[in-house]
Symmetry: none
Subunit: 411 residues, 2 copies
């Protein structure tokens, strides 16, 4: 079963505000097997909102409208939904009494404009508001259901849980949605998708989404069925094949790379140090974003300048002059140097040209050398990452951690 | 002039993800006097998306569609917009060549599916993508304009700035929106708003928004008028009073703190080094996110473990034992140590408890000591930041840079 959400409020169309109610509502709907196919934010405009409601109801059998139920003139949700359904608003004396009673209890006098909140779309049911004055509404229109909820999360959530969920449960077909996530590194998005799409396309019951960040591709699988065993079986079939195809490029079932290498280091009672040039601290920042990372991360060197490479990491001046700061030998020397100085089991070093300046013909912007040193010895690799400064740095940090993961797993 | 935004992607309809591109785009549109009246998220469904595009174009003369321009089968934006406009897609050999060239430069072979990105809606113009493979599109339909942009922010933003803004400027009616931004540090959001709201509330022509990030509050002022002199005059009146009230807590007119300290260091031909414990690289990462920061940033030490504090920064074991790693004397010793080792003019050091573990009664989670060393001597200060690990680290990095700013300005 499909659903849509419309959030009403001109303030949600400014550069500073986001509608976050829809995230919570989506999670609730998904638990019932109801899938969101579109969501929208509309300003406080009766005509535009009525058009949006008509559009949504033409597509989807369930529509949830949040906000715009207050007492002021720019609260137009009641009127707009009534327009869209071609119904009138009916004054309900019991609703007015409930609102007046609420004001009395807090020692205030109800303002005349609050009368507007006592109007119900003909044929609809009022949904009690345990926290505020605005009642919600549940309106059936043939097979369709339209739900009107107040905008403040503190009013919306209890109303949804107490009065909307039970009603939706009655009309939603019994469905279960199971999900599985894979994260992969060391492969381009288009290459990955070309390899795995023949698998997931064979299963119309499994929806697959591929999300790409620098050096980090997420594959989200969602299976729907009336029985959870069936949904899990589909996920297992699709997931199993994807695992075979991508092999060790898959690095986790959802956890970020920094958590994965943390677990690998901890399991081996090993420690890590880093030496960063072009990433400028990003690699260490990601490693230490994991709570408890002090168990395995010792620290390291920020060798942004050549002087720091020489004086902090002990790289030979002759080597820097001969090979250049952005080179494989310097990456290896940095990894070796910081490993020796800190006594860490493993060390990672990154040196490269993040841009926008600093590129040459031999070493264009995006060139990065990553060094890995460990008990088994040290080695370096050249990479070429595309994109702006931020993207090159993100690629470099992610790839450095992936090289360590491969070293730790003996790949 | 009105506009709408449609963000395409089933992943944006899950409970975990939000479309944030629309916020940035809204800010850009507002600068041209273009107002957003609705925005929508639609899944990867060609038919639904075509319907949504038709609905938006019936309401608004400008429509911006983001995402769904990738090479895979579930990238349906090109097809859906073509459907909505009743036009066909045309294969453009030059676009294919540009995509192939991009792959060649990175030493990869273009996957066959990337051919899909070489199709243009008939009558449309291709918008070059400086960062990724997917070209954007600009399509006029009578008085209307439809813009197709790639979803990744790193690709979307330069494309919008370079190729969409100039085209929109030509079709938008001349309404001037003038803006002014202040950024402040060292004051809480509620405190700041209580002080300045009596000022901006007196000017209904000036809209003020206060945005808070850890240690960094932005005040956005927007004045609208048909004449820019009038709008600028209002901004000058409101802004001038705010400057008097906040004084040296204002650190810039929009630039981030790392750019501000970079300019101050460069103007003094001074250099900087850092020693980071609890921030774990975040401070250096922010400093080096500024292109050209190698002019003044030398590097530093990641002294996450006590061992690294001793062996890399040369902190006396007795001092660590006596005062504890999270203490003012250790912060000062770290700043002194890294300044001496690197020969930098100034040094910053951060040591603290980012949490969630590691707090004690004397040194609860959120306690951070920041050391500053320079030609005038060294000193340290204790702070207590509230929030989770990420927030404490962000506060600490921002505050460390603010202390350096104050030192450099002699405040």
């Amino acid at each position: 079963m499909h659903a849509e959400i419309i959030a009403v409020g001109s303030e949600l169309l400014t550069p500073e505000r986001l509608d976050t109610n829809s995230l919570w509502i989506t999670a609730q709907l998904n638990l019932l097997g109801i899938e969101l196919v579109a969501k929208m934010v509309v300003g406080d405009d009766r005509h535009l909102l009525a058009g949006a409601v008509r559009g949504a109801l033409a597509r989807s059998p369930v529509l949830i409208v949040t906000g715009g139920l207050g007492p002021t003139e720019d609260d137009v949700t009641r009127e707009a939904v009534a327009d869209a359904l071609g119904r009138e608003l009916v004054f309900v004396p019991e609703l007015l009494e409930a609102i007046q009673e609420r004001f009395r209890r807090t020692g205030r006098v109800m303002a005349e404009i609050n009368r507007r909140q006592a109007y119900l779309i003909r044929g609809g049911e009022a949904l009690p508001n345990a926290v505020g004055t605005a009642p919600g509404q549940w309106v059936r229109d043939g097979e369709r259901a339209v739900v009107l909820l107040p905008g403040p999360p503190g009013e919306l959530k209890p109303m949804f849980t107490d009065h909307v969920l039970p009603r939706l449960r009655e009309i939603a077909p019994p469905l279960v949605i199971c999900t599985r996530v894979y994260r992969a590194s060391g492969i381009a998005e288009s290459d990955l998708d070309q390899r795995i799409s023949p698998v997931y396309k064979r299963y119309p019951e499994v929806a697959a989404t591929v999300l790409a960040a620098p050096g980090d591709i997420q594959i989200h699988l969602r299976a729907r069925s009336s029985a959870s065993e069936q949904a899990e079986r589909w996920l297992e079939e699709v997931g199993g094949r994807i695992e075979v195809i991508l092999g060790d490029r898959i690095y986790s079932r959802g956890e970020p790379m920094e958590a994965v290498i943390g677990q690998l280091l901890r399991a081996r009672s090993a420690t890590l140090a880093v030496a960063e040039s072009c990433t400028g601290g990003l690699l260490a920042e990601r490693i230490t974003s994991v709570p408890g990372s002090s168990d395995y991360f010792l620290g390291g060197l920020l060798v942004y300048s050549d002087r720091a490479k020489r004086e902090l990491a002990g790289v030979q001046p002759a080597l820097l002059e001969q090979c250049g700061a952005v080179s494989e030998p310097v990456a290896v020397a940095l990894a070796d140097g910081v490993r020796r100085q800190t006594g860490a089991t493993y060390a990672l070093a990154v040196t490269g040209v993040a841009g926008p300046g600093g590129g040459t013909e031999q070493t264009p912007v995006g060139t990065v050398f990553i060094g890995v040193a460990g008990p088994e010895g040290a080695g370096g690799r050249r990479f070429r990452f595309l994109g702006d400064r931020e993207r090159v740095r993100a690629f470099a940090a992610q790839t450095a951690m992936d090289l360590l993961r491969r070293r730790l797993l003996g790949l």
